[in-house]
Symmetry: C2
Subunit: 350 residues, 2 copies
Amino acid sequence: MNSVAPQKKRPTIIALDAMGGDYAPDEIVMGAAAVAGPSLRILLAGRAAEIERHLTQVPEPRRGHIRIVDAPEVIGFDEEPAKAVRSKENSSLVAACSEVAAGRADAVVSAGNTGAAMAAAMLKLRRIRGLKRPGLCAVIPTPGRPTLFIDVGANSQVRPVHLLEFANMASIFAEDVLDVGNPSVGLVSIGEEPIKGDELVLEAHRLMAESPGLNFYGNVEGRDIVRNVVDVVVTDGFTGNVCLKLMESTSSLIVEEVKKAAGRSLMARVGGLLLKKELAAFKKSIDPEEFGGAYLLGVRGLVVICHGNSSRRAIASALRYAGRAAEQNLTSKLEQRLAAIGPAHGAQEA
Amino acid sequence: MNSVAPQKKRPTIIALDAMGGDYAPDEIVMGAAAVAGPSLRILLAGRAAEIERHLTQVPEPRRGHIRIVDAPEVIGFDEEPAKAVRSKENSSLVAACSEVAAGRADAVVSAGNTGAAMAAAMLKLRRIRGLKRPGLCAVIPTPGRPTLFIDVGANSQVRPVHLLEFANMASIFAEDVLDVGNPSVGLVSIGEEPIKGDELVLEAHRLMAESPGLNFYGNVEGRDIVRNVVDVVVTDGFTGNVCLKLMESTSSLIVEEVKKAAGRSLMARVGGLLLKKELAAFKKSIDPEEFGGAYLLGVRGLVVICHGNSSRRAIASALRYAGRAAEQNLTSKLEQRLAAIGPAHGAQEA
């Protein structure tokens, strides 16, 4: 086992892709301005002149905790991720990752092209020691308390040991970054019994049940994902990606339809107005911006991938959680946990 | 290719599992009573004395179109499906399937144990000619028009050719039973481009794109499932089962939360009351009972698997659609389509 010496001499520094997102750079810069301070410094990667113009709105002393890393290129939402990352070394996204790779920052936040953010992370940042596959972990804002959902798209084809890694990484993240005590972990299947599911799930179930330190609940079904049955829901990146998008789409569809219903008659319009305050409180309670974005766990230095339409509020949340992860030495803790999974884990091929 | 002679000499007969479901036999018998007539006769399989008692409430001439098949055993929701089906030949479910197997009925409807219904169908009814795998097809009551979603749990592990079969079977069902003209078909993946997804999806995409008579749209993402992007959504039974349960759970959660919000203050309560009528209309528009249940496509004689909590309304819908399928000679049409998929399909092993 490797003991990792704590190296917290400098303040936490987050590299932020200033040009990624529908509202970049304005909302991105304003998100940085909302959280920058002596213990959380921000590196804004992007077109220096453009960023500088937005930064004039940010007063001291906050302004003093933000630095610019000039990166004139931008990766668009329509670009082929791997190709864009390889050909645009000077893009805001790749530059942000390079800051972490060079040890000048602790984590990356981007609201740009999701595929490109993953590709840049894989290309520029090393995997943490002992890990086979990083996993993308979303935070689902279920009423009450959040649910972590991993993997939502980093790996469309996985083996059982990868699911075991996801379970352990998301547990650490839940505990250390989101303050969930002894997080319970469920494995997505088509029935609660351990004998339900395909070969992947059957074997992953066995591995998780035997994993030391993992609070394994057992299988969960599709309905349980949004019902706070467990704190961490584990599945492959194909199922996770489809489910995450389905969940977002279903909830926004229902909210839209309720709104439409509230416009259909005068009485209903009055009713809708009277309900407005309570419905707004509910909408806020399931607002995905609360948790910033999805967290790529397993690369050295966390990468937070925000929704393209992130506002300054989402960016600020992402920066705060990324800062929290760095303060908690997430990378070292993940390495320690992976080492503790034991030789059975390490012995399997990557 | 096999030409199947039409054999519509007798009226359509549906075998109904009278003892399956949370509200059996009362709601089941009343569902039968709602639709029984000279062109749609019902066989009620179950405990004769108990059914008889409920049938006394059904007036002539409807009563005359309902017959009882005595089957004293019942398969419970907690029983292990395959075992229960094998050991309970005289259960209402197995008896209903046997009526179809013997040619005395055209289709089966059950609101009992889903796994047992599938097991009974596989055991008692033959697969249609040329088919490798039956698929369970749900009808999602999306606003506007329904979306067919296949497979929602019959096969947790599939090969590309099975997805091709699902696509073709659900298209025929949409067209002939639900009156959807030239139904478009989407394949669930994690990106719209044909190059996105795992090996299963890539190969299934290729097969569907080349399949004669299939109106293939291409890949769809999780968000598209509820957005009427296509008429038929195809996926493996693992992803489909997880998604269906997630969708139902998410929409009922949001409706519950909106209700809770409408109880939080006097003003909100008044607002909720004023909105009640419009919200009820919306709830009705997404009511899963409208389409009865999920349809097991690919066995000789359709099997409709209803929700355990089905009311008489759901049972009546299921019986009507099952009747419609029989009138339309669904089995022959499925066979013809499978033959038309061509030798590439037939040449692959089962």
